[in-house]
């Protein structure tokens, strides 16, 4: 990249498991709320913003191009340009990197980038048989026709297609995401206990980050619909009193007979939104703003869909090639926790010479990730993974933490359903 992209500020809503506290807040309302707060905190004039780019995976039917809906609901003038991006679990990063590309290409100077997701609102769908039934009924003209079609109705038509399950199932390899994690557990021989231990740690780190107020710095509380009579102030995923004992009691969820991946060592379906304000470093200097941090470089890479969890290794490998950085150059790493098995798998792959030579065409390992700088404030297993939002959240979380520790550079990376990885190099002054 010919110039760093300044991330002026970032803000997010608290995250809560789908179906819980945020269940009545739609993805567009959630995004608009976060965006309003971003605008209020930066006090940056909306009129000077060129575009709004939002990542969103489950794109609700009633808010087509949700980015534009969010922009208008958060008070932008009608002239605002807005687009929605979708790169599955990295949608909230894609919005940031797309914005970066646009800024560097001269297609806009100041851009809002973020992500929003309400997994609570992913609908159940009618199946093919029911849809066909409806179609026939609508076309029927005479009473006789109608009756004859009506008589063809079977209760089985009503069996819904569960949107979330469809979304989380890879249409190419046919595996649901949890089974891709089982693949990694087998590839790297990651025991159930190691996974549970990792999950427990994520909860402990997240709880500490909440209690110390570190996460509150990036969060705006949300008055909760439908009645707005309570306020959600913190992330609700981290469990007080989580223990190995409780985790070990859970049955494997995806491979019930021989599996190791449980709901306890996976990230939950989650609702949440996050927003950032971006411009070139030189523009920020010109206006006299102090950015929260900078995007230095980024890479995306693809791999086999059934091993999608290893995306971070592939993407980071590319990032290191492009920038000349080594793993030692990163003071902090945020590696999204889709599954404990997947994070541990990545840890193994990062430090493995054999993996490197077999899959990355390199003779040496990328380098070990020091566990003490990895996901220091907990990760998605505890905090949740609102798929369209997480990418943006990781960027905000890592930049705030770098500043807190007075460190310089961080790596934010995540695996992407469908078999991709994303890796962003982020810096603070």
């Amino acid at each position: 990249m010919k110039e760093r992209i300044a991330i002026i500020d970032g803000i997010r809503t608290p995250q809560a498991k789908a179906g819980e506290q945020l269940r009545s807040v739609s993805a567009d309302d959630l995004g608009a709320y976060a965006l309003k707060e971003l605008l209020a905190r930066t006090e940056f004039p909306k009129e000077n913003i060129d575009e709004v780019i939002i990542g969103n995976v489950a794109q609700p039917a009633n808010a087509a191009n949700i980015s534009r809906v969010i922009a208008l609901k958060s008070g932008f003038p009608n002239s605002i340009s807005a687009l929605t991006v979708h790169r599955n679990c990295a949608s909230g990063m894609e919005s940031i990197t797309s914005a970066a590309c646009k800024i560097l290409a001269g297609q806009g100077n100041i851009i809002v980038a973020g992500g929003t997701e309400s997994m609570s609102h992913i609908p159940l769908l009618y199946g093919k048989k029911m849809t066909a039934f409806f179609e026939k009924m609508m076309r029927a003209k005479t009473l006789k026709q109608k009756l004859s079609i009506l008589s063809s109705f079977r209760l089985s038509f009503l069996k819904p297609i569960i949107g979330v399950v469809e979304g989380l199932t890879d249409p190419v390899c046919g595996l649901i995401m949890g089974l891709t994690a089982e693949n990694l557990a087998r590839e790297f021989k990651i025991s159930r206990e190691a996974q549970d231990d990792y999950a427990l740690n994520s909860h402990l780190k997240a709880l500490d980050a909440i209690k110390s107020g570190r996460l509150a710095e990036e969060i705006v509380p949300v008055p909760l619909q439908p009645k707005y009579d309570t306020v959600l102030k913190d992330d609700k995923g981290p469990r007080e009193g989580q223990s190995m004992k409780a985790l070990s009691k859970l049955r494997p969820f995806f491979d019930r007979k021989a599996g190791t991946v449980t709901v306890g060592n996976s990230c939950p379906l989650t609702d949440g939104a996050a927003m950032t304000l971006l411009m070139s470093e030189s523009r920020a200097k010109e206006i006299g703003l102090t950015p929260m941090g900078y995007l230095k470089a980024f890479s995306y890479a693809g791999l086999e869909p059934e091993r999608m969890g290893l995306g971070p290794v592939y993407a980071t490998s590319k990032l290191l090639d492009n920038t000349g950085f080594t793993m030692k150059d990163f003071d902090l790493v945020e590696l999204n926790e889709a599954f404990a098995a997947q994070v541990i798998g990545n840890e193994c792959a990062f430090k493995s010479d054999a993996f490197s030579s077999k899959f990355l065409g390199k003779d040496k390992a990328l380098g070990e990730i020091d566990p003490s700088i990895l996901n220091v404030n907990g990760g998605a297993i505890a905090l949740g993974h609102p798929v369209g939002t997480t990418g943006t959240r990781l960027v905000i979380t890592i930049l705030k933490e770098l500043k807190r520790r007075n460190k310089q550079r961080g790596l934010a990376t995540l695996c992407i359903g469908g078999g991709q990885g994303a890796a962003l190099a982020l810096e603070v002054d």
Binding site: S26, D29, E37, A40, R41, P45, P221, P223, Y228, V231
Partner: protein, 706 residues
């Protein structure tokens, strides 16, 4: 063909008569216009080339706005009124009797006489212009439709649908009009001329007449076309009118009578009765009061807030701030968001903030339920609210309304924290009801941008906002704040920075006088019933319970501090105040015991003594003490003029409209009688009744407020 106000073009059998009232922005049915029309119609009926006649207007957004209200105001003799009505009816009868079908093509307001004009035509069609409104608002001016409206409307759409229109005076849009059969079709405004043309052609060809006739007959047969059905409608209408007006407004009752009579006898006889009732009503005080209020409303719409000045350019407020998320803050945040502002809301804790969101959401839910807004709009409006517990996000606010607790130091510290974070052109407006505006502004960097803006509770229902400039407030700030309140669609009244401002200053003596009477042993029920009979929506003691006795006491104390002797808080009020559980409605008991909707006099308040104060003395004590204070307010220039004071009382206290306001009411009694009575009350009740200087001057110089 062209006359002063009308022009006729005839083409292919379609005549188009365009009404364009000379030197006016709107079309009105003045007496000269009616005379002109009368002559014109005599000529028109001989025009053989006309197969169908269209009536239309050359004015933008107006078909015919109605009769000339000034003219109605000036009618002082019932026979003059009757003649005007009969003359108008005769003209409209001529339209009805034309040898060819007629069409009113309505693209804008067709109200009162304008609507009656349309009713006299064979057909009515309208555009979907948002300004297209049809209705008979006469009752809101204390009269009934006098050009046949009470007769033709029920005949056209059926009595059950006609009654609400006639009795409430509310106007309806093109969709509703089409639905109830008041118009026969509507077209989009962009293609209105084409629509009118093709409608007219179809009439000439005879292709749609039958269909329209059939559609019109689709009235509710059992209700509208049977004597029993109609009797039920009359009875129900009567009951609802009495409930709404408590019998204080004669016009709706007369309207029911006119409709009933006309439908029983005939159109001709009905018209005669209608004209007679119209003339009875048009000379009453009620009618004159309501018309005066109409004009005062128009005057207020134009008033910039500062005499003889206007803003150099109009302002629109886009971003607003609200400090304090209590009941008032929540209501104000709702109002701002509803009127298109992005709102930044601040309180000290998130739970407090949530209360404001909750308040706003509740009001929006009510609006959705009443179908005033669509469900999806609720989400759009709610999204205009953002909240914080810091001072961030106010930089773009054009105006910040402060509604934190009534404490000078707290308010001042809130301002001093906020002022460095807002732009210098932003207005800070305090919703204080009690504190001195000049004192509040002390210490601000821009005191000229500080002002008082007193909303009444509940914000979504109360239309009045008092605007109170402090010593240093600039004229520009006053005018911008007035413009802001107008943008919120509330009524702004600029008042002086005196204790209690205008409304509380006048209303409080009324409430404390009532409490004083209770202490003398007058029955609580009697006092309240006298006030309600007078026309107040609530008696003073019921009002005290509603507001809360603690709040009332606080205000009373402030007024005592400000005005001394004449507003001394009675020891009895103190003693009630000291009993902490007697807070009024919110604690369940005050002067009344509030028990799930039921209200009974609280026996704890009873003093054992009994006073035989008569109803008329009670009424005088309650209302003359207000008149006395109002006179002082006028004398001191607390408000620009008595008309504005009257409007403020109406909107701020629910003072009965039919009395026209407090000053207007005083005028109907006369200064001399009022001074007499005040003097006598001063002897029996104390020097708080000492007549105001202005009243004495009025008595001596035979003057009045108006």
């Amino acid at each position: 063909m062209k006359t002063t106000n009308f022009s006729l073009i005839t083409k292919n059998g379609i005549g188009r008569l365009t009404f364009d009232l000379e030197d006016e922005k709107v079309n009105k049915l003045t007496t000269p216009v009616m005379k002109e029309l009368n002559k014109l119609l005599d000529e028109l009926k001989h025009k053989r080339e006309i197969k169908v006649l269209i009536f239309c207007s050359a004015k933008k957004d107006i078909f015919i706005a109605g009769a000339d209200i000034r003219e109605i105001q000036d009618i002082s003799d019932p026979s003059e009124g009757e003649n005007k009505a009969l003359m108008g009816q005769a003209v409209l009868n001529k339209i009805e009797a034309l040898p060819f079908p007629t069409i009113s093509a309505i693209d804008g307001a067709a109200l009162g006489g304008g609507c009656e004009f349309a009713l006299a035509c064979t057909f009515r069609i309208a555009s979907d212009n948002p300004k297209t409104q049809l209705g008979l608002p006469e009752v809101s001016l204390g009269i009934i439709p006098g050009f046949g409206g009470t007769q033709r409307l029920p005949r056209l759409i059926g009595v059950s649908k006609a009654m609400p229109l006639i009795l409430t005076g509310k106007s309806i849009d093109h969709k509703k009009s089409e639905k109830i059969g008041l118009i026969d079709a509507f077209y989009s405004q962009a293609f209105f001329d084409d629509g009118v043309e093709s409608f007219a052609k179809s009439i000439i060809e005879g292709s749609s007449e039958k269909r329209i006739e059939k559609r019109r007959k689709k009235q509710s047969f059992l209700i509208d076309n049977t004597p029993i059905g109609r009797a039920i409608v009359y009875k129900k209408s009567q009951a609802s009118v009495l409930k709404m007006t408590k019998g204080h407004l004669p016009a709706p009752l007369k309207a029911i009578k006119a409709v009933k009579y006309g439908l029983k006898k005939s159109l001709e006889k009905g018209l005669i009765v209608e004209a007679q009732y119209f003339s009875d009503l048009v000379v009453t005080d009620v009618c004159k009061n309501l018309i005066q209020l109409f004009f005062t409303g128009e005057e207020l719409k134009k008033f910039s807030g500062v005499r003889d000045q206007v803003l150099s350019k109009p302002v629109t407020f886009k971003n607003g701030g609200v400090l304090g998320a209590g009941l008032m803050g929540g209501g104000i945040a709702w109002l701002l968001s509803y009127r298109g502002l992005n709102v930044r809301l601040k309180d000290i804790g998130w739970d407090a903030v949530a209360k404001a969101f909750h308040t706003a959401d509740k009001i929006y839910s009510q609006l959705v339920k009443k179908r005033r807004i669509k469900h999806i709009m609720k989400s759009v409006y709610m999204n205009r609210l953002s909240a914080t517990i810091t001072n961030s996000g106010f930089y773009h606010s054009d105006i910040i309304v402060e509604a934190v607790v009534e404490n000078l130091d707290i308010k001042k510290s809130v301002y001093s924290e906020l002022e460095p974070r807002i732009k210098s052109s932003a207005i800070i407006a305090s919703n204080t009801s009690a504190l001195d505006i000049t004192e509040l502004a002390d210490g601000l960097k821009n005191p000229e941008r500080f002002i008082g803006m007193h909303f009444f509770s509940p914000v979504n229902k109360m239309p009045l906002v008092e605007i109170i400039p402090g010593e240093k407030t600039s004229d520009k700030t006053v005018m911008e704040t007035v413009a802001f309140v107008k943008q919120l669609k509330k009524t702004p009244i600029v008042v002086s920075n005196c204790p209690g401002f205008l409304i509380n200053r006048i209303l409080m003596p009324y409430v404390t006088e009532a409490i004083k009477m209770v202490s003398e042993g007058v029955s609580i029920k009697l006092i309240d019933s006298v006030a309600v009979k007078f026309g107040m929506p609530l008696g003073p003691l019921e009002l005290a319970d509603e507001v809360g006795l603690d709040v009332g006491y606080k205000v009373a104390k402030i007024l005592e501090d400000g005005y001394g002797d004449r507003m001394t808080v009675d020891s009895f009020f103190e003693s009630i105040h000291r009993k902490k559980e007697l807070l009024g409605k919110k604690s369940g008991k005050g002067f009344y015991i509030h028990n799930s909707g039921k209200k009974e006099v609280n026996p704890e308040i009873s003093l054992g003594k009994k006073s035989n104060c008569s109803a008329s003395i009670i009424e005088e004590r309650l209302f003359f003490i207000m008149i006395n204070e109002a006179a002082r307010c006028i004398d001191e220039g607390v408000v620009d003029n008595p008309r504005f004071l009257d409007m403020a009382m109406l909107m701020g206290t629910g003072f009965p409209v039919f009395r026209g306001g407090l000053c207007r009411y005083a005028d109907t009694i006369g200064a001399s009688l009022i001074v007499d009575r005040l003097t006598s009350l001063e002897e029996t009740c104390g020097n708080r009744f000492n007549p105001a200087d202005l009243l004495i001057t009025y008595r001596d110089e035979r003057k009045s407020f108006y």
